[in-house]
Symmetry: C2
Subunit: 490 residues, 2 copies
């Protein structure tokens, strides 16, 4: 009955789609470009939300909820912003049976509506910093969509903060970049490069944009999170001002930052294999599946009882309780399904650890433990299984990150010339180059190679890292030359 | 600096608005009918979500996410449904810079889009029951809006389930009604009547609608949650069918059920007083505020240290840890603010317990403990405070429910004639009457008194409870007569 997953080597894009659909992470909807997030996908989003929400609250922001519909005129107040988003807007023209006097747009992001409230709430330096976050749906009318990676509607969190000084806003922008980087590596087990966007890729309305970028198994980059220093651009447009200690009215300095359901796609393309999903334990709901092997009626009862005891022992084990998260254990004793079918199903949906236990295991006092990412069967004494599970889950989380980091590093190349990059671009990878910073040249490179600057690497002061080499494109040495990563991307 | 809250006795509606705005629960937005949920309000919504989500998952449903935009044609597939919702729709006509071929509507509820997916996913009896839930924003273009109670956009959860038989669907509808009832009473401390809606008040597209109804302090009713048996109405419209064990294709029997951010308004109007919010402990983020009283510089250090120790002792106390939720404790030692200002602020925002500790308390080894709902100061030995806090929080949750229940019962009247109800209707309350069930008469009563049937009371079989008395309106005895609650409502 099982459908076949296209191997990565044959068609990476098809492989990704097969996994998303067959593991019931998401499905296509009848609304163009919009997906349905199914239970297995949404459970991952809930894990992402729980952990990231804790980090965001710890950073000092509190959750709010702002209207989904924004007056069209609001978007027009910040010139770059409207230029960037206008082509992607969905517009409500009629409501309650009437034509609206002013059209409302479905939020593509909420800087404008939130600034209209900031302008009302913020009066004095005592009201600063003001730090808010929102978990919400947004709509951007995309032409080419892919499940999780780029959809017309997606779910995200968007943080918005106001500060008294430019320095504080810059510090907050960097802090949140760090929160995203740590989150991506610790929870998604996704190693990320981080840096600043070039002007071409900057958020519409920002002074500067920082980002984290992961490398997928097809060696393409995925932008996984962005943090923007908005300077006073939106404050000017909305007159978001405060009375400072010195008695002067000043504009607030702002930031915004976000990650979205796109992370789920990135996680899948970082870790999964030709058998299906490989979930980092931190994102799993069911961490361990125990499959009782029941070949004969006379031993069935004993095997099911042993599987149940094993579950209890794992649940109650001090080592398992010491893990920084609660683990879910399923005894899959449905006797309408063959063990082989169950193995396949749990490999497809990415359950981190499988335990098989049958009559012969019972005689020997052992069970077979298999880590999803390694796929190697191990015979383990029953008494040692709880400690083994705790150790394996912790190890798996760390080793998945390191495996992905090794892959990323092996596919990151320092190249000195444009010809060298062009000769390697079809194989994919990250290309670290010395770059003179010309936006027009960057566009030309994109046209010729489909590669863009993913980020400018930064020095310890978060300024683009100087390069002593000639620009890889122009061949010219210059004080302005900095290190940039070029790659094809999602 | 503090604004004054209008007393309930003077203007209940203004009192409610004062509390919502001054306690920073929500604010008006520049988008007509849409509110901004501020941090204090959203924190309550998060507590509601956490607890209710657990109950919903325990019932067997899993969380999904479906598109916000629905093709207009989908709503038209179920005749009653479109008739009910058409006047409230917001319509997207343009997107991505172009006029859409088919307009999309902002979801007012998701039966239609979800059925389009159910029809794809459900093939066989093995796929049933199929139980899903969604936490989402919805839009209903309302003419008259009030913060939390009725807003153009609101947040809610909507459950949607498919079953093989009519009996199973009816059982699920009742189960979820029970989940809502228990949740309202245990977590919101809001006593609710429950029953079936009359045909006039039934959900557009349902066979029957069950509901829970709370009584606010102005003696008006608030519909707090609904659970619908949809029968095969949507299944017919979307051809949601399954191959049953007997080899026949059959329509699925469906339910849907939801509660929304309206619950926050209901909770406020059930418990709060003229000083501000009174939060049931289960909905608080900060449960205890410790206010150090620091009249002089030489004792300030000792008082702050004692406040800190007290926090630690409360946090580490076994009695506090045995509570079914984590508690938040704030030491409010900001010396820019007077103690009186802090008392006022925490009364306004509903912190369940306040502890004052000053130099004289230190000498005596005591502190002053005040429960927000009672407002009575108690001197308590420091060593006894942790147990006192645990006891007070548990007692407060239960007593708030009982106080509200007593109020509700004292304002519930059995009336035999329409004249009797009319003579009392201005005072408010629930009116339990014998009712012959005529929809046209019900509409007439609404016109004359602004009162509607909140629910038909049910017998042990969930059928409307027979009444042996004559109909309170027609004066006629009949087998059809049942017990109904009439009330004015939000």
């Amino acid at each position: 009955m099982a459908e076949k997953i296209t191997p990565r080597s044959q068609d990476f894009s098809q492989w990704y789609q097969d996994i998303v659909l067959q593991a019931k992470m998401a499905d296509y909807s009848p609304v163009k470009g919009c997906m349905v997030i199914r239970a297995n996908g949404y459970a991952v989003w809930e894990k992402i939300q729980q952990d990231l929400d804790r980090r965001i609250k710890k950073s000092g922001a509190r959750n709010y909820y702002f209207p989904f519909l924004i007056p069209e005129s609001f978007l027009k107040k910040e010139a770059e912003h409207v230029e960037g988003f206008a082509p992607e807007l969905a517009i409500v023209t009629h409501a309650g049976g009437k034509k609206l006097e002013e059209p409302l747009v479905a939020r593509p992001t909420s800087e404008t509506i939130i600034n209209s409230m900031f302008a009302k709430w913020i009066q004095s330096y005592r009201d600063l910093p003001h730090m808010i976050n929102q978990w919400a749906n947004v709509i951007r009318w995309e032409m080419r969509t892919r499940l999780f990676l780029r959809t017309t509607e997606f779910l995200w969190q968007e943080g918005h903060t106001c500060h008294a000084t430019a320095e504080e806003a810059e510090a907050e922008t960097r802090t949140m970049l760090g929160v995203y980087r740590d989150f991506a590596e610790e929870i998604l087990a996704m190693p990320v490069c981080w840096g600043r966007k070039s002007d071409n890729e900057r958020f519409a309305g920002a002074l500067r944009t920082y980002c984290i970028e992961g490398m997928m198994q097809d060696k393409k980059a995925l932008q996984a999170g962005t943090s923007h220093n908005l300077s006073t651009n939106f404050a000017k447009a909305f007159e978001t001002q405060f009375l400072d200690k010195d008695g002067k009215q000043k504009l607030v300095h702002q930031t915004s930052w976000g990650v979205s359901t796109r992370l789920i796609g990135g996680m899948i393309m970082t870790h999964s294999d030709d058998k299906g999903l490989v979930l980092p334990p931190r994102l799993a709901t069911t961490h361990v599946v125990i499959v009782p092997i029941m070949p004969k009626a006379d031993t069935k009862g004993a095997v099911i009882a042993a599987a149940g005891s094993l579950r209890t022992e794992i649940e109650n084990s001090a080592a398992v309780k010491a893990l920084p998260y609660e683990i879910g254990i399923l005894v899959d004793d449905d006797d309408q399904k063959q063990a082989g079918w169950k193995f396949h199903e749990h490999e497809l949906t990415g359950t981190p650890i499988r335990i098989e236990i049958g009559p012969r295991d019972l005689e020997k006092g052992t069970a077979v433990v298999t880590r999803r990412d390694l796929g190697v069967k191990e015979f383990v004494a029953l008494s040692e299984i709880p400690a083994k599970i705790a150790g394996d889950l912790a190890a798996m989380q760390g080793e998945m990150l390191e495996k992905a980091r090794k892959f990323r590093d092996e596919n990151t190349f320092e190249v000195d010339t444009y010809d060298e990059m062009k000769s390697k671009i079809e194989q994919g990878g990250f290309f670290v180059v010395s770059w003179s910073g010309d936006s027009l040249l960057e566009k030309k490179i994109k046209e010729e190679t489909k590669a863009t600057i993913r980020c400018l690497l930064l020095d310890e002061n978060y300024e683009p890292k100087k390069s002593s080499k000639p620009c890889f494109y122009t061949g010219e040495k210059s004080e302005k030359n900095v290190l940039a990563i070029f790659a094809r991307s999602y």
